[in-house]
Symmetry: C2
Subunit: 388 residues, 2 copies
Amino acid sequence: VSREAFWCYVRFPDEEYERRLARLREAMAAEAVDAVVLSDDRLTWYFTGFGDVGPIGSPARPRVLCVPAVGEPAFFVHRSTELCVQEMSAVADVRSYRPLGPAPVAEIVAFLRERGCRRVGVELGAQLRPGMMVEDIDGLRAAVPEPVDASRAVWAVRMVKSEAEIERIRAACRITDRAYERALPSLRAGMTEHAVAGLLRRTLGEEGADDAWAWVASGRGQYDRIDGVVRERTLARGDLVFVDMGACVGGYWADFSRACVIGRATPGQLRMQELVAEVTGIGVATLVAGRTAGEAAGLVGAAMNERGLEFSSRAERYGHGLGLAVTERPDVWQSDGTLIRPGMVLTMEPGTWTEEGMFHCEQNVLVTETGNEVLSLSSWRLTEVMAG
Amino acid sequence: VSREAFWCYVRFPDEEYERRLARLREAMAAEAVDAVVLSDDRLTWYFTGFGDVGPIGSPARPRVLCVPAVGEPAFFVHRSTELCVQEMSAVADVRSYRPLGPAPVAEIVAFLRERGCRRVGVELGAQLRPGMMVEDIDGLRAAVPEPVDASRAVWAVRMVKSEAEIERIRAACRITDRAYERALPSLRAGMTEHAVAGLLRRTLGEEGADDAWAWVASGRGQYDRIDGVVRERTLARGDLVFVDMGACVGGYWADFSRACVIGRATPGQLRMQELVAEVTGIGVATLVAGRTAGEAAGLVGAAMNERGLEFSSRAERYGHGLGLAVTERPDVWQSDGTLIRPGMVLTMEPGTWTEEGMFHCEQNVLVTETGNEVLSLSSWRLTEVMAG
């Protein structure tokens, strides 16, 4: 049994991490950055191979990866976890610290000094959240000659997925499709949104998800409830039931939405779902290499306007990146100038709501050299659950 | 149906939030802080009532709660989620912003100025992690007269649990006990650690957990694997199987560890488990009001030394707070001067490992006016799973 086989559901082969670090160094060169210091749990996992499907460890023991432009990186971890990290990390230079709470800022600064790093990138912007305290980030910035934002370099690498990553996202989408199709016919009037979400999560697990999320909004005349909380509201006959859900496979997520009606759908509901699906299809076609995320968003917005559809979800984006997080960079929105590249996995989800329910059929899309491929295959049609 | 009944598994009655805010203002007065600005998802949920069992929403849309010492608080949220937050939030003044990514720093600063706040607490230290970007924290600090750390005030409130919170933690511990006792007899030689963790999580769900975590380390001669990753390692006859697991009920966690042997335990294993359980019992007795966490840790360390037990887990703490996170402040360790108070829920887990396995029986303990109460009731004995 090879070392990697022990963690085969989360750990990629060493070569994957070598390629990621090489790509990071290229992105750092483009930004003229001498080193980056990363502590977000998803980022240290991404670059070292140490991590799990969900964040592990305690905020009392931050893990900090220092990647200099020249020479080997060093991974600073609490001594309680040192041996586990050594087993699993693709970064060989694992250094341990002892106090509980703060990151080992003095040791990190000494390492950067030793390597002659002046311009040092830390997690400041672009939706990054460091896994060490702001106090530690302050200490680090005070001690290096020129602290800068690491986010451009980091996202340039993470936004473009490798074959191995795409395989996991593809598996997550397949499981999500299957779980959705299997669970849907069990919905009944009298169930609560909370119970439906539980059923979806359990079914995702049964279909092979390592982790799962599911979110449900039901009823007519509901305003957009995205980012709301699943309620104890009881489903009634005639309700439109919107579900947003995703499997996690080896740490990579699907993000998929569909809807059904308990009983017969009204002509208005059927028409609106068809219209939103049509715009979603147009939106999917905009996600091609060479265009910016903002340009794609402009085209989606125009397609909605032409059809008199209001983008009432007010989400400020028609889609987003997908991968180690359910939502990550880039944002498919006018303000985002990110160039779309082959290997990006993006969602497309222009939505609207009316008095008759929420209409939204989120697709997961892989950008290829020649166009793109839709990874979420379940029908966008409004299913009528007749037994309910 | 009342408003609260819709989210009865996460939302407390309004009075709970009024008491929390009143206690926060007391803690702010003790620190001479004019306002605190909070964005960690667990903290905004704790003080406003808007939130779910796990973090919800996207890092692209931070939610920021401003609590001035005088006058009503304001809750800044992205406009896509404004109506949902208004439904659920106990803080009535919900203000929305539109751009994706950054927090609405200018609006927050204007609010603080309007209220005459000079000394403003933000999430800088003590294991806090803001839900907005460091760039936003920087912008906020640059614009207020005297930025300070909010962590002391925040933890002074959150560390002491209310009756309603204790009820949830008690339920989480009960479910964890039941799931552990029900799943354990199903363990068999030939199962992987990964499969055992999945079984434990599923059983926690079946017993009523809203969310669940489980972690497994097996085999003899294993060094401490806390914070390691569950492996595909196959259980063999004679293995000691250590499990660390917990149910989540309405957002509140249990954190519990026990162990079993596949087949017959050796006399050495039985003796070591008994010794660790004895020290754990002594440790539980140290967790009483009026003592500091550091003093309690000193007593546990002395009890280990007397028995020649090395604290080989190197975790740098014998226990920690428990509640909205599986591990939170305080740390039961010499360096933590936090005064133990009635209403705190703490873990006690002095552990060790030898060539024969990992020995660790984590207890969840409620500190009361007159002593304490152990909430995790399953036997600490090393179960022998004979069918395996």
